[in-house]
Amino acid sequence: MRDDTMTASAKAAALAAFKDMAREPGVPKPDPILVVDKVVRRFGGLTAVDVDHVEVQRGSITALIGPNGAGKTTFFNQLTGFDTADAGAWTFNGRAMNGVPAHRVARSGMVRTFQLTKALSRLTVMENMRLGAQHQVGESFWHALLPPLWRKQEDEITERAEELLARFKLDAKRDDFAGSLSGGQRKLLEMARALMVRPELVMLDEPMAGVNPALTQSLLGHVKDLRQQGMTVLFVEHDMDMVRDISDWVIVMAQGMVIAEGPPSTIMSDERVIDAYLGAHHDAPLSESELEAQLHEAEAALEAEIEEETQK
């Protein structure tokens, strides 16, 4: 289990780095692992991504939030080589990464997960995990023919995979085909598999959507451990409880652009962010009466909006 004090210290370190930073989009970070400049991606008439400048601090947990269709996933696609940007440049660890094919991006230590999960259906959960490991001797054709060359490494990988699976509550599914997992389990596998890569920067696209809250909570601990181990985490999430709980820094995107940056607490009270994204009621009330009140309020607001629309 995690060592609370240690995690806390890492968090403190991360927070310290962000302490006096300006809360404006594109603010430079003291030790950025990822620097993005003027990335643009258009689909026909639609500009899905138009990021002017953004940096991700090494060793931090950074959340990327924004309304649906803001371009978060598309942004990930550009950075990880799954799609070609129309313009722009970005560096990872100081190395220019535009035009680098997806597998090289992953090898250089920048690994992403997919929002719409990609389970390798007719491989077992364990094989899915093993595939994530890097530098496997047995993955070269000639070595593959001689099992003694890779047996030992395979055992190590398996061990590591088992640990992760246990954490992600997938150990019971170890030998089942990944195609037979439930929606939430696929999300879990997707994330666990990415962690097998041992990346420097892990980019998670809505890792917890559809994951049971109790499990989410325990997994957050794991993510914090990752930061402890020096990993940088950049994640997209719509669950504000989670964002608030683990992120050190939040970047907000809307309509393809970065509109705000800042620590979670500040961001969530930012007027524009509330407007574009959170809505008035993201701090969900717990009592029935409050809910009722809110309901009415929302209805009224909606109606007003509708009226406005129809009047236009």
Partner: protein, 329 residues
Amino acid sequence: MDWLTILSTTVHAAIGWETVVYGLAAIGVNIHFGYTGLLNFGQAAFMAVAGYGLAVTVVVFNLPFVVGVLVGLAAAALLALLMGIPTLQLRADYLAIVTIAAAEIIRLVFRSVYFKDIFGGSDGRRGFNGDFYAMNFLYDPGRYGIGPFGFDERTMWLLTVGWAVVLLCCLVVFLLMRSPWGRVLKAIREDEDAVRALGKNVFAYKMQSLMLGGIIGCFGGFFYGLYNGSVQPDVFGTEMTFFAYTIVILGGAARVFGPVVGAMIFWVLFVFVGNLLAELVANGYIPFMTNIQVGPVRYALVGLGFILLLVARPQGIFGDKREIAIDAR
């Protein structure tokens, strides 16, 4: 009714050269399609370039047999490169049609009057297998076998070498597919992007798979040429590839021995049905059919046989029902 002939020809087919040739083609297809998910419908082209590589080297350029084999292998590897570079980025179903197209192009070129001086036009090339049989150090001339079951020394030699190659290929497939290398292939079959995201060079693996399967298929081409003493362009048509696929599915995709057993079933079905039917007609048991109609009816029955086998066992002989049940979509 000549049951003995029906039986002996059936047994011969099960272990004969057809099973070797189609088995090898199918092992290659199994690597492409069964393991990697590459819908390569141009397997016949690999066999063709191998067969022709050997034939043209020996017959037209008068070089030794061994050189011919090397040229054939090189041709198959080169074909994999040429075919792979443009096509491996395509989605599975697009890849299928492009590989068929490539294979047809190759066949038509081999067949053309324009290149007749090299490839021999529609009659192909012959007269390159002497050296192969001269290498026979195992069998003296004569007949080997029990009673009606048996082969002459030439066939025995070819079958010995052929089956050795088949088993060797099975061993290689077995070793590879249990290794991390094979795991990457299987993962590519499921979702390329996921594999890319994990830092594997998908293109390189696909290319390796295409080459390996192509080269194994190319041995099928060699044995075809060596047994028949000739290569002709039309042998290597799409039919050959279709049959290889049928064999793979009959045996069970992504199973090491699937293609071999599939090939046996395929040919046993073919020969048994054909010869049984011919005997029935010849002996007047099916009065309404003439001897000329035996051919088409036999094929129709064989087609029906495939259908029934696959309806009964869509996963093939060795396949796993669970794997089929997982919706790949």
